[in-house]
C-alpha cells in the first residue's frame, strides 16, 4: 500500500508542481495517474522512490514514511520503468536486466541466467540478451525496461509514461503484455500517462489530475466514463468523442454496438 498524505512540491524558484495531494494506492492494484503536462503526475511518481523529495506532507509505503528510508535501498526495492527504457547503452540487454540483482550482491552469472528467463517472460527471444539496447527496436527496449524493473521481484512498480515513445500499434501490444503480466504477478503499480485510452485500459483505478496534482476525479475506468465529474473530466476523457458514444442496433437478431460515426465496433453478449 502506498499512501500520499497531502504532499506538496514547490521548487526553490517558487514553481509549484504539486499542491496538497492525497491518495491511497492499495496493494496489488494498478492505479493510473492521468493528466496533461503540468499536472505534476511524474513528480508524484518520483516522490515514491525519493527521486523527488516533497516539500510538504509525506509518502508512506505500508505505513512507513519513505523519507526515513535509505534512498538507494528504497529504489532497489521498487521497480521503475521510464520512457525510452532508460537502459544503459554500454551494457548488454542481459546486464541491463541484471543491474539491480547484481547491485544487491547476486552473482553475475546467476543474475544473467535469471535475466534470460525474464526476457522470455516479457515476450522477447533470449538470444536478444547479448545485444545492446541500440540494436533493439523501441518496443523491444521498453520490454527490456519492464524486465529490468521485475528483476529484483519488487512489490511495487512505478511506470513513468513507459510506452509514450513508441508507435500506437506497438503501444497497444505493450499494454496487452503488461496487463497479462499484471494478471500473473499482482504488483502494486502506479502508472503515469497523458493518454486517456491507456489509462482506461490499464488501471484498476484511474485518477484524473488537473494542474498541480489536484484530483479532478478518481474511480474505476467504467465510473469515469459513465459519469465524468465535471466538464474538465468530460473533456479530458473525451466522453463526447464519437468513438465513446455507443448505441445498439439490431442486426440479424443480434445487438450490435455502433459508435457515434455509425461504425460497428462489436456485438453485445447478454
Amino acid at each position: 500500500m502506498i499512501e500520499f498524505e497531502s504532499v506538496s512540491k514547490t521548487y526553490p524558484d517558487g514553481t509549484v508542481a504539486v499542491e496538497e495531494f492525497s491518495l491511497v494506492v492499495p496493494s496489488h492494484r494498478s492505479v493510473v495517474l492521468v493528466g496533461s503536462s503540468g499536472s505534476g503526475k511524474s513528480t508524484l511518481l518520483q516522490m515514491v522512490n525519493r527521486m523527488v523529495e516533497p516539500t510538504g506532507g509525506r509518502v508512506a509505503i505500508d505505513g512507513e514514511d519513505v523519507a526515513g528510508r535509505d534512498a538507494v535501498g528504497l529504489r532497489r526495492s521498487i521497480g521503475y520503468v521510464l520512457q525510452h527504457g532508460g537502459l544503459l547503452p554500454h551494457r548488454t540487454v542481459l546486464d541491463n536486466i541484471a543491474t539491480v540483482p547484481v547491485l544487491n550482491g547476486t552473482r553475475r552469472r546467476r543474475a544473467r541466467t535469471e535475466a534470460a528467463g525474464l526476457l522470455e517472460r516479457v515476450g522477447l527471444d533470449p538470444s536478444l540478451g547479448r545485444r545492446y539496447p541500440s540494436q533493439l527496436s523501441g518496443g523491444q527496449q521498453q520490454r527490456v525496461g519492464v524486465a529490468r524493473a521485475l528483476a529484483s521481484d519488487p512489490n511495487i512498480l512505478l511506470m513513468d509514461e513507459p510506452f509514450g515513445a513508441v508507435d500506437p500499434i506497438v503501444r497497444r501490444e505493450l499494454q496487452d503484455e503488461l496487463a497479462r503480466l499484471q494478471a500473473d504477478l499482482g504488483k502494486t503499480i502506479i502508472f503515469v500517462t497523458h493518454d486517456v485510452d491507456e489509462a482506461l485500459r490499464l488501471g484498476d483505478e484511474v485518477v484524473v489530475l488537473r494542474r498541480h496534482g489536484v484530483i479532478a476525479q478518481r474511480g474505476t475506468p467504467a465510473e469515469i466514463l459513465a459519469s465524468p465529474a465535471d466538464d474538465f473530466v468530460r473533456d479530458f476523457v473525451g466522453a463526447d468523442r464519437e468513438e465513446r458514444r455507443l448505441t445498439v442496433r439490431k442486426v440479424d437478431g443480434r445487438d450490435v454496438a455502433v459508435d457515434g460515426t455509425g461504425r460497428p465496433v462489436g456485438v453485445l453478449h447478454p
Binding site: Q46, N49, M51, V72, G73, L74, R75, R76, Y80, L82, H84, G86, L87, L88, P89, H90, T92, T99, V100, L103, G123, L124, D125, S127, L128, R130, R131, Y132, P133, S134, Q135, S137, G139, Q140, R143, R148, V166, I169, V170, E173, L174
Partner: protein
C-alpha cells in the same frame, strides 16, 4: 638535401646511440618528462573536469580557464618558472603541466557533461549509488572524449617538452639547443626528426586508445560481431 643526408648520417652513427647523450637515453628522458607533466596535470584536471561535468556547475570557469591558458606562450612561462624555481627540471615540468591542464580539463568536462541526463537519472532511479553512477555509467560513456582530451595534451606536451632542454640538460630538445649553439645543423635536424617521430607514435597510440574507448567501452554495439540489426528475431515490437 645534403643537410637531410647529414642528419641521416648523424642518426646512423652508433656513437650517437649510446651514453648519457645517446638517443635512447634522451628519448626516455623526453618520454619521462612528458609522462610526468601529463600525469600531474591529469591528477588535477581529471577529477576537476569530471566534477564540473557531473554537477554542471562552473562550466564558464572551464571555458575561461582553458581559453586563457591556451593563450599563454609556453616559452614565456618557462622563463618565468625558470626565474622562480631556478634552472632545472622543476621549472620545465611546471610549465608543461600548465600546458597540459586545459585540454584534459576540457575533455573531462565535455565528456561527462555530454552523457545523456536521462540515462544518468535512470541509473540513479534503479538504485545505483553516486559512485556507481560515476564509475559505471558516466565515465564509461564519457571515455572517448576524456581520452581525447588526454590525447591532445600528450601531443602538445611531447612537442613542447623540447623546450625543457632550454633550462635543463634533459630530453630530445638537447640536440636542438646543442646543435644551435655549435651550428651543428645535422644534429638539430636529427633531433627535430626524433621529436616528430615520437609525437607521431604517441598520436597513433592514443588514436587507438580513443578508438578502443569509443567502440569497446562507450558504445560496444558498434563493434559487436553479433550485430544483425537487419535480421531481427522475436517480436518486432
Amino acid at each position: 638535401m645534403s643537410l637531410l643526408m647529414d642528419a641521416g648520417a648523424w642518426l646512423g652513427d652508433p656513437a650517437n646511440w649510446s651514453g648519457d647523450n645517446g638517443v635512447p637515453t634522451r628519448t626516455v628522458q623526453h618520454l619521462a618528462i612528458t609522462g610526468a607533466a601529463v600525469g600531474i596535470a591529469a591528477a588535477v584536471a581529471l577529477p576537476a573536469g569530471v566534477l564540473i561535468g557531473h554537477t554542471r556547475r562552473g562550466a564558464g570557469l572551464v571555458g575561461a580557464l582553458s581559453g586563457a591558458a591556451r593563450a599563454i606562450p609556453t616559452l614565456g612561462l618557462l622563463t618565468l618558472f625558470g626565474l622562480a624555481y631556478g634552472i632545472g627540471l622543476k621549472a620545465s615540468l611546471a610549465a608543461l603541466v600548465v600546458l597540459a591542464v586545459p585540454s584534459i580539463l576540457a575533455g573531462a568536462y565535455a565528456g561527462v557533461q555530454a552523457v545523456d541526463a536521462a540515462t544518468v537519472s535512470a541509473a540513479r532511479a534503479v538504485g545505483m549509488r553516486p559512485r556507481q553512477v560515476l564509475f559505471g555509467v558516466e565515465l564509461p560513456l564519457a571515455a572517448p572524449v576524456v581520452v581525447g582530451g588526454v590525447r591532445a595534451a600528450v601531443l602538445q606536451v611531447v612537442a613542447t617538452a623540447t623546450l625543457a632542454a632550454y633550462i635543463a640538460d634533459y630530453g630530445l630538445g638537447r640536440y636542438l639547443f646543442a646543435g644551435l649553439k655549435s651550428r651543428d645543423y645535422a644534429q638539430m635536424l636529427a633531433g627535430a626528426l626524433l621529436v616528430a617521430a615520437l609525437a607521431l607514435l604517441l598520436e597513433l597510440a592514443f588514436a587507438a586508445a580513443q578508438r578502443y574507448a569509443a567502440t569497446r567501452i562507450a558504445d560496444p554495439a558498434r563493434s559487436d560481431r553479433n550485430d544483425t540489426r537487419t535480421v531481427q528475431k522475436g517480436p518486432t515490437s
